[in-house]
Symmetry: C2
Subunit: 322 residues, 2 copies
Amino acid sequence: VEDRYVAIDMGGTQLRLALADRDLNLCSVVKESTDHSRGPESIVDQVQRMLEEALQESGTEGKALQRGVVASPGPLDTQTGIVHGAPNMPGWEGEVHLRSMLEDRLQIPIQPVNDANVAAVGEFRRGAGRGTRNLVYLTVSTGIGGGVIVEGRLLEGSKGMAGEIGHMTIDMHGPTCNCGNIGCLEVLASGTNIGRRFREALAAGGTSAVTEWLDGRGATAADVARGAAEGDHLASTVWSDCMEALGFGVVNCIHIFNPDMVVLGGGVTNAGDLVFLPVLSVVDRYAMVLPREGVGIVRAELRDNAGLYGAASLAIEAMETL
Amino acid sequence: VEDRYVAIDMGGTQLRLALADRDLNLCSVVKESTDHSRGPESIVDQVQRMLEEALQESGTEGKALQRGVVASPGPLDTQTGIVHGAPNMPGWEGEVHLRSMLEDRLQIPIQPVNDANVAAVGEFRRGAGRGTRNLVYLTVSTGIGGGVIVEGRLLEGSKGMAGEIGHMTIDMHGPTCNCGNIGCLEVLASGTNIGRRFREALAAGGTSAVTEWLDGRGATAADVARGAAEGDHLASTVWSDCMEALGFGVVNCIHIFNPDMVVLGGGVTNAGDLVFLPVLSVVDRYAMVLPREGVGIVRAELRDNAGLYGAASLAIEAMETL
């Protein structure tokens, strides 16, 4: 029986599960909307059903399963496998013993890992970062998550919480972030916050053609991007302020990690050049010459599958280093 | 003949050299004022003389020497061993091929490593960081240098330039740093900049009892610290602004690296509680609970010898991984 690894991507919207072989081929992928009906319990049930489905679909015997990694919502302590009050998961109040819940149910070793860290590994192994050794990954979405690869290995830190680049202060006199810190990259440049900053600018008396298509609903980052692309003044101002912040975030990553590559993913990066041109402009102006030289600042490639490739890759790695 | 390693700490003021055995005992330490008379050439001459002195003094045969590491001024590319225009070294204009110059002269393999990175290794192996696995070291002195230990190994990055925590933007609307970037930790909180901020506050019309003892000379960080300790209002305000910035720098390190410990060294930390109390206050208020929990924020222990212990340790490590 050939070894198989279980990769699980536990998102607030979608739950994905795959079986992978030792060469990181995904042999069977199952996707469902996340079932929040009974908090973590219903999700663990769902994972078990999806695993059975994947085994059947691919004709894999249960005893082929070696271990699994789950791209998990945070804040997660990887040492204990406990998630502490995940804000995006309804019903996950207090401590959720995700590792032990999954291990009890699936009967194989399971390691939960912060979802942005997992995606970083995915992009490193199979995405934009193939062939690099030192990589910084940022996902600019509802929040801003990060993951760092150092000499080919995920930077974990003492509790598996390293890489929280979204919660790096870049404006110490700026607004308060959801995390309680001041002027984090996330509160200045995440999708949610791009929308918020634009709505605040409107509320402060700004006028914008964007309101014409909003029809009374609140503006989102996509609206601000569209407005900026169409040359609307207020949208352009807010958008460029946010992208400037993101640019300084990338400068910091270059100075702190001296990487080969910075990979930007997440919904906001769908705006393409509208993101990359201003970010590159800040980086080229403000990063130190030597560490900046030769660093690719590129778009993530794997999208939805970054989590599955990353989780499978970490499961295989864990097996190899046992 | 027992193996010996050469540790060199090449500072702008002092040059230090030691021989070390495989167990990281420094067997012979030589110190001199750095000879800048002929730029890098005179320093290399000096290193050669000091090495001969150390060999004689300790009765060591030249053939015992395995390799050396030099804690080098930056900016340094460790891949090439070239220093690119070190601002604190008179006569080091343009490229200085430090590795090849030293190897030609000393006839053993020599690796130059960024001085703050070397000091981080020293504190990790023999100083405040003994027994940790993940450590962030900051030296708050003329500038602010940094070094990071990840799972027991120095974070190098692709050109050995990682750990430039002093050049992390924490106030994107702040003043321009010497490095060209905006609102770096260094331009907000290094010794030189503490003095500058105080002098600017005076020039802007502030009054302070500190001027009484200055006797017309410019105030330094030590003067600001003394004024703050004595309750002078202007000195206290400037000092606490600077320490707040340093606190946000430490918060960022905790979020980015999830370390076991943050070690603060350099001349400014001689002010003791005047540094640590405000820094801890920012950290306890703004860092996320889980990564902050259990992280010691402590003073460096080795002072002048951090560079020698670090350099010796890296030389021994390089031998072991050959």
